[in-house]
Symmetry: C2
Subunit: 344 residues, 2 copies
Amino acid sequence: MKVTLKTIAQEAGLSITTVSRALAGYDDVNEATRQRVIAIAKRLGYQPNLAARHLRSKQTHTIGMVIPLTSYYSDPFFMELLSGVGRQAAEYGYDLLLSAQQPGEEELIAYRRMVASSRIDGVIVARVWKDDPRIALLREVQHPFVAFGRSNDGNYPHIDVDGLSGMLQLMRHLVERGHRRIALILSPANLVFTAVRYQGYVQGLAEAGLPLRQDYLVEADLSQEGGCAAAQHLLALPDPPTAIVACNDTMAIGALEAARARGLKVGRDIAVAGFDDIPLAAYTDPPLTTVRQPIYEIGRRALDMLIRVIRREPLQEPHVLITPELIVRQSTGGASPAGGQVRV
Amino acid sequence: MKVTLKTIAQEAGLSITTVSRALAGYDDVNEATRQRVIAIAKRLGYQPNLAARHLRSKQTHTIGMVIPLTSYYSDPFFMELLSGVGRQAAEYGYDLLLSAQQPGEEELIAYRRMVASSRIDGVIVARVWKDDPRIALLREVQHPFVAFGRSNDGNYPHIDVDGLSGMLQLMRHLVERGHRRIALILSPANLVFTAVRYQGYVQGLAEAGLPLRQDYLVEADLSQEGGCAAAQHLLALPDPPTAIVACNDTMAIGALEAARARGLKVGRDIAVAGFDDIPLAAYTDPPLTTVRQPIYEIGRRALDMLIRVIRREPLQEPHVLITPELIVRQSTGGASPAGGQVRV
DNA sequence: CTGTTAGCGCCTTCAG
DNA sequence: CTGAAGGCGCTAACAG
């Protein structure tokens, strides 16, 4: 049988209330009584029924996250973020409630369920869309949340990586290497970071006095297969690019594949770069030049912010913008400009 | 204000009971009334309070998992498993409750809390220990669970990979390549799979008529750093091995590092192999020969079993043993025996 | 210092 | 077909 406060109360010959207070550490309980209660609770292996406690107290010490329905392999981003969030949640004694959902309509329903069902105290929203209905929902019902990414109206607690700066660093690096025909594999247009990274690309071209060519822009779906197909298309152009930048590493890895399949040696015949610096990026062949987003750290920090939001403490910095770091590896010719000139 | 059954009842001029039954789909409610109730619920955005529902029904539609407190990078295994479990949980409409904990005492407390606090219907236990106290606990309180791995007394629902077979395949492969001095980097002795994989190693040596050398056995902690240190030790022996097998890929990657630091070309001067086939393994330099555990699939399957356990349906196969597949890559000289002879 | 009372929101008898 | 009553386990006034 389950051990409840009632069980202990009977055993101790006390009321449920007193047992509750003794265990909760209230100071209006006789110390001897308390010790007795604690001893019995321990002996019986009492564990509070959290469903009841949550119902009563309206607090769950649980953070919610909705994650896409994929294997780690096809989308490392979320798992890395999850690691960071989970890690920091543990620090505060919070648990994580995960709901794996197909992106889209289902996902929104999952959010609706989560926030309204009194199971969580707050949520982390990742990979923000333009005019994100999830964020609209959370703001409307005033449910605590922190987002990774900012949408058009970014007036809510969030952390973001400055994709413009990141992409600009990358473009300067490529231009410095002598590239003048640089293509971009775009991520889906509904994601906020797509537009930002695209801006960085455009600005990078402008700085170098290079034209913006529509035929050098292809959209793909963040996956390796998508990146591969996009790169194939670019490489088959009559006037193919000498450098391909992808909006995330997974697509860039697909581009490596496409280049290899065409018999091109990446880093020499063509440059390829990504964005994210997922763990794999350092191990691809050749290792991938990319822009590092410290996802794990961002997860931890987002959770810190969320705890403050939940506790209704003011945020000293509600909008965090992190400047990412360019990581130069062999896929763009390596670290030294001299040794890594690409033949154009 | 929160919308509850009461809100709807007042709005509809009905009792809470009727509203509850209308929404639950009982057939003893007038169809017109039901439609009216449903319309109001929808209009008000009603979401049942799950804390209350759980308290009442003793069912949570939630699966618990305790995961170690690390980043994905340092331990890909759990995240991959988690992906599989989460994926399949979604299939059944279940959510996942995660508690990130320091392995050891803390972890056991987390299990105790989880199972006794009525927040979850079942748990998945991964990376089983010898005489695992977590399993002892779960059996004692008769809480539904499925384990990935079997301990000494494996008489509980579990899935396992046949580590003996896997290791044996690997040993045969190395012996075939001409290796006669094969060292093993062991995982911690308290993990069940360590002993099993060790058995495979011993059996592999015996089959080839090779001696079991104590100086070729080193234990490390599953981490890359640990694997690197262990390999350094092995390579510094007066009579160093020509092949190093690690009990998991992460340690094997550390061994690659150690070999490289010593100026050895892996795949030619020395062979290195791992176990798991984590996503990274295909991308290391050189790509890592390993034994593939289909972790994602195992996660899905474990969840299938768990759902049956929760529903008290009989398991047609309570103890699943999967024979893993040897994946030969360049770190042991590549796929073709001819081209990949290792100099010994 | 301790006990009584009163719900949190939901579901499930049992009456009408 | 609908409503009233009771209770899941816990906590928070309010009395004594």
